[in-house]
Structures are given as structure tokens and as C-alpha cells.
Point group: C2
Chain length 333, copies 2
């Protein structure tokens, strides 16, 4: 592979997280599906915000978190996503650039405000998400710069891009450009309910080899193949996908390819403070390893390392240098 400009380029919904602690009965009262991501409109966003406790704001967005995580390992990274030119949009742009990520998508001058995800963190560390897409609705194929995609070893796309109206076109455009240049395309299935909404299209993306690498957690995989049996789902995935990494929370993960199913253990943590970003950061480590030519088990270990860091504090982006943590653990960076 020639010396490319980027190890990984991500495309996703550009979102600011609004994070509060909540008791389980708050989720019940609000009709929230624990552990899931629900799409909400502006009136519902206001109602949730009025009802929820004191919050902190932090840049989020699934693919954006992943790209920031990859940059923390030392990856050369870029992100494409749409904010509005408002206070939260400027915070999003500041945070991702300050993390060393190239971010050149022009903000929307008018229209809805920057996307917000209202995240309730329950005492067990689980997070329940409610996303108001706002300006992220306006991501358009024109926002994808062909030269940037061509010069990225891996283009990483989130399944959530199926929610806004034009973003899936941006997704397909990027995948076509990447493959045209001989690059790799990766997809995260994002969320079990997201898979529910777009199951047929996601299966088609995988079977048609529009994507070369799939990230999924157990629930998303079960939703994709509509089975409650993990081994059945993994067999189906082996038939369909070139390469997949399936995360299983405290049970670690498995890397699934035609030739093998490689399990990698999770790390023990004293307490899960906030699970937000666990999957995103697993993908960060895995993608970084893959872009640097590491074997699948090493990629998975880098993923576990990053996920372990992010679940031990509030927020979905690393607080420590993942490069330093990897070095301390004897992993290659």
C-alpha cells in the first residue's frame, strides 16, 4: 500500500452528547428502551431535556468518537459530518480538530441546530440514547471529497447514516470511491434498532461486498439475522462477510473471517462508569491496527484496550493517550 495521507476516514452524524445520570425508573417513565438509541424530534428533545437531571455537554457521534480514538493511537485521521454554525457546532469542530483529526465539512449556515444526543447513564453504567439529528440531517454526497477518500487506507461508515435522508448516498459515494482506489470500506451496524430499520439494506451491503469489514455487537448481530442464538448468527456472518469483529461486552469479542473465528478476552474493570462509546472505541483500536497491518488478534486487543479506557469515565472519547496506554500494555503503536 502506498504511503497514504490518512489511515482512516470516518463519515457519520456529527453530534454533541448531553449526558446525565438517571435512575432506571426514569427510563421507564420516559418510555426509553434501555441501552438503545432512539431518534427523537425537536419537541421530544425539549421534553426529555426538561425532565432530565443536570448534564454535561461533550462532543460525540459514533463514527466521530471512533475517529478521535484512532487519532489518539497516533492514526492520521479525517472525519466528514454536518454541524450547524452554532455554539454546539463550533464546540464539535473544536474538539475533533483539537484531537488531531482533519475536519473540513462546511457547517450549515441555517436550518436546524447541531445534532444532540441526550444520554442517560444508569447506575450500572449502561447508557440509553435519544438523538435529535438536527443539522446532521443535511449531510449530502457533495460533502464527501473524493481525494480525501482515495487517500485513506480505510473509509469507516456508521449504520446510523441510514437515518438522515441523503447521508446514505454520501455513504455509497464514499464506498464506491474507496473501492475504486483499492481502499477498504468498514461499516458499524450502530444499534440493534437501527439494524431493525434497515436490515435488508445492511444485509445487501454486506453480501454485495460494498463493505469489507463489519463491526457489530451481539445484539446488533442477533437483530441482523433475526436469531437469538449467537453461534447461528456468527455462522451466517461468516457466509456473508469478508471480515467482521463482534463485541460481546464483558465476554470480549470474536474476529470472524472465512478462515477462522478468533476470540479475544475483555479486560477486567473495577466498575463500568459509563458504557457510552465502548463500541466506538473498540472500532478505533481495531481500525488503527488494521491500517497499520497488524494481525486480527492484535487489532482486537487494541480495540479492547480503547474500549476499556472509555468505559471507566463519563463520556465517549478517550481521556488518556491511547498510544501511551497501548505502549504500557506492550501493544504495537
Amino acid at each position: 500500500m502506498p504511503d497514504l495521507k490518512f489511515d482512516v476516514l470516518g463519515i457519520g452524524n456529527a453530534i454533541v452528547d448531553v449526558i446525565a445520570r438517571a435512575e432506571d425508573d426514569f427510563l421507564v417513565k420516559q418510555g426509553m428502551n434501555k441501552g438503545a438509541m432512539a431518534l427523537i424530534d425537536e419537541p421530544r428533545a425539549e421534553a426529555i431535556y426538561d425532565a432530565m437531571g443536570p448534564a454535561v455537554e461533550a462532543s460525540g457521534g459514533s463514527a466521530a468518537n471512533t475517529i478521535v480514538g484512532a487519532a489518539s493511537f497516533g492514526a492520521r485521521a479525517a472525519f466528514v459530518g454536518k454541524v450547524k454554525d452554532d455554539e454546539l457546532g463550533r464546540a464539535f469542530a473544536h474538539d475533533i480538530r483539537a484531537a488531531g483529526v482533519a475536519f473540513d465539512t462546511p457547517p450549515a449556515a441555517d436550518g436546524p441546530s447541531t445534532a444532540r444526543c441526550y444520554i442517560m447513564v444508569t447506575p450500572d453504567g449502561e447508557r440509553t440514547m435519544n438523538t435529535y439529528l438536527g443539522a446532521a440531517q443535511d449531510l449530502h454526497p457533495n460533502d464527501v471529497d473524493p481525494a480525501a477518500v482515495q487517500s485513506a487506507a480505510i473509509t469507516y461508515l456508521e449504520g446510523y447514516l441510514w437515518d438522515p435522508p441523503h447521508a446514505k448516498d454520501a455513504f455509497r459515494k464514499a464506498a464506491t470511491i474507496a473501492h475504486g482506489a483499492g481502499r477498504m470500506v468498514a461499516l458499524t451496524l450502530s444499534d440493534a434498532f437501527c439494524v431493525d430499520r434497515y436490515r435488508a439494506e445492511f444485509v445487501e451491503l454486506i453480501r454485495s461486498k460494498t463493505v469489507d469489514l463489519i463491526f457489530a455487537n451481539e445484539r446488533e448481530l442477533h437483530s441482523l439475522y433475526q436469531t437469538a442464538d449467537f453461534d447461528t448468527a456468527v455462522r451466517a456472518l461468516r457466509d456473508d462477510a469478508v471480515l467482521a469483529a463482534v463485541t460481546r461486552s464483558e465476554k470480549g469479542c470474536v474476529v470472524v473471517s472465512k478462515g477462522a473465528v478468533v476470540p479475544v478476552a475483555a479486560s477486567k474493570v473495577a466498575r463500568v462508569v459509563d458504557a457510552t462509546g465502548a463500541g466506538d472505541l473498540f472500532a478505533a483500536g481495531f481500525l488503527f491496527g488494521l491500517a497499520r497491518g497488524r494481525d486480527h488478534a492484535t487489532c482486537a486487543r487494541l480495540g479492547v484496550l480503547a474500549a476499556t479506557e472509555v468505559i471507566q469515565h463519563v463520556g465517549a472519547r478517550p481521556e488518556a493517550s491511547l498510544k501511551d496506554l497501548a505502549r504500557q500494555s506492550g501493544l504495537p503503536v
Copy 2:
């Protein structure tokens, strides 16, 4: 004392914190005075934000943090401070109300944006603050509701109110109303450089008994009496003040009154994650205890408990219920 509506009413600058980790050499390069609060204008705010790392946003403001802390103990609490009707202003209002605090100051419809404090947290947990006052400049005596002040056992004021042009008039108005109703007035000296700016006025406030209770840390007290000797400063304070609580970081605190100097020890913590809010939360516990008629040592222990909670995580407001923590420690709530 009759059954009042509020245990404590605070008046202060309404500020949203923008918190990032930074190395010590960043402070040096930026010409920042470690551990202090500097006032900055908008161009400097932009330059600092451009230079600083990824940040999180969280409601702050010294007196506001104190009032939220008091509410977390179970105090009936109110806050007066000026935000703009913008995204950060709405976040400030949401957060303080969601903490159970009455907050009725009307936001500014135009003019400068909601105040922001850019906080650099160094690896030792110390915080260095840069405040753009923005809309907080527009706090005015009209924003002080006499009925609210009359119905609060203690009115709590921050020395930082001397920085905006009209806020000190709001301060004096509130103090006059409180004393007219037979209530107590407390003041925090806020910051050693703030004391430098307004030393003569602060000494006058104390000697004239415009304030009945002083909160200060060691550096502020040394600045007030322009001495490097702690005992000299405490003697001067005993001569001037009715009651004072002086915090000394890991050395605990002393409660100074005409009759006695009562020392209370600090709690051991494994690691100071972020010292932001330590003084504010000490005041929260002390004020709560005082409003509920506790003795000075108990008030100080409640203060130490709250400060200990807040320095063990990022951000200046409690993440846990201080009422629950106090109960677990056998302190009265």
C-alpha cells in the same frame, strides 16, 4: 428563626465551564498563572479555545456551584445570575434548575454571549481558569428580588461580583436587604488576584460588617492581609471578621471566630482528578450546616465532605448525592 423559604440564596457570575486537560508547559506558553483565575476578553477567549485541547462543557460559576452543592445536601436554595438566551445560557439554566435550585433571573435577550470559563486541568489535578464574562457583565441590582433575599436564611455572595460593572451594586443591595430582614450575609474572597484587585473594598466589607461570614483559602487570605505568614493573617482576620472559614487544601481548614480557631482535617484522597470547585463545595457544606444550626466544626466537616467528592472527578459540581454521602459518614443532614 422562622421557617424561611430558602436556606441559602447565592448571587454570582453565571458561567459555563469549558474544561480541558493541559500540560504545565501549555500554561507557560499561554502566559497563564497556574491555579488562578484570569479575566479575558473575547479575542483572548477565542485564541485560548483555538489552542486548547478537546473540551467538555459543564455549568459552573463559583457561587452557582456552591448553591448546587447546598441543594445536593437537601438545602432549599436559590441563585441569581445573568446568562444570555443562547445555547450555553439555556444549558446553565437547565442544569441549575435540574439540581433543584430556584433560578428566576431573566436571561439577556441580546448583547454578549453567556459567560465561559476556559479551565485547564494539569496532571496534578490543579485547575487554571480564564473567564470571559460575557452576559454576566449585565447583572444589575434590578435582578435582585427583595422578597427572595428576605426569605433566605443566608445570602451568599462571591468576590468575583466586583469584576462586572453593576454586580457589586446588586451585591450591596442584597446585603442591605438581608440584614434589614435579620438574615446572614456570607462572602467568598474568590481568588487571590481578585483580592488584589479589590483589597481595600473587601477589607471594608468585612470591617463594616456588611458581611457576617468570610470564606477564603490560604492564598486569598495572604493576599487580603499582604502577608506570607498564615498565623499573622488569621490574627488579622479574627480582629476584623465575625466568622470565617479558611481552607488549606490537604491541610484541612480552620474556622475562625472571636472566641476560637477550630481546625478540621482534610480527608485523604487517592488522587486529585480535578481541583475545580473544591472551595465552592466546601462553602456549600458549610453554608448548609450553618443554615440548619450546626456547630462550626460540623459545618466544616460537611464542607470537607463536599470538597472531597468534587475533586475526585472532572467538573465543579457534585456527581453523587451529598445528602447520601453525609449520611454514610454519620454527618447530620
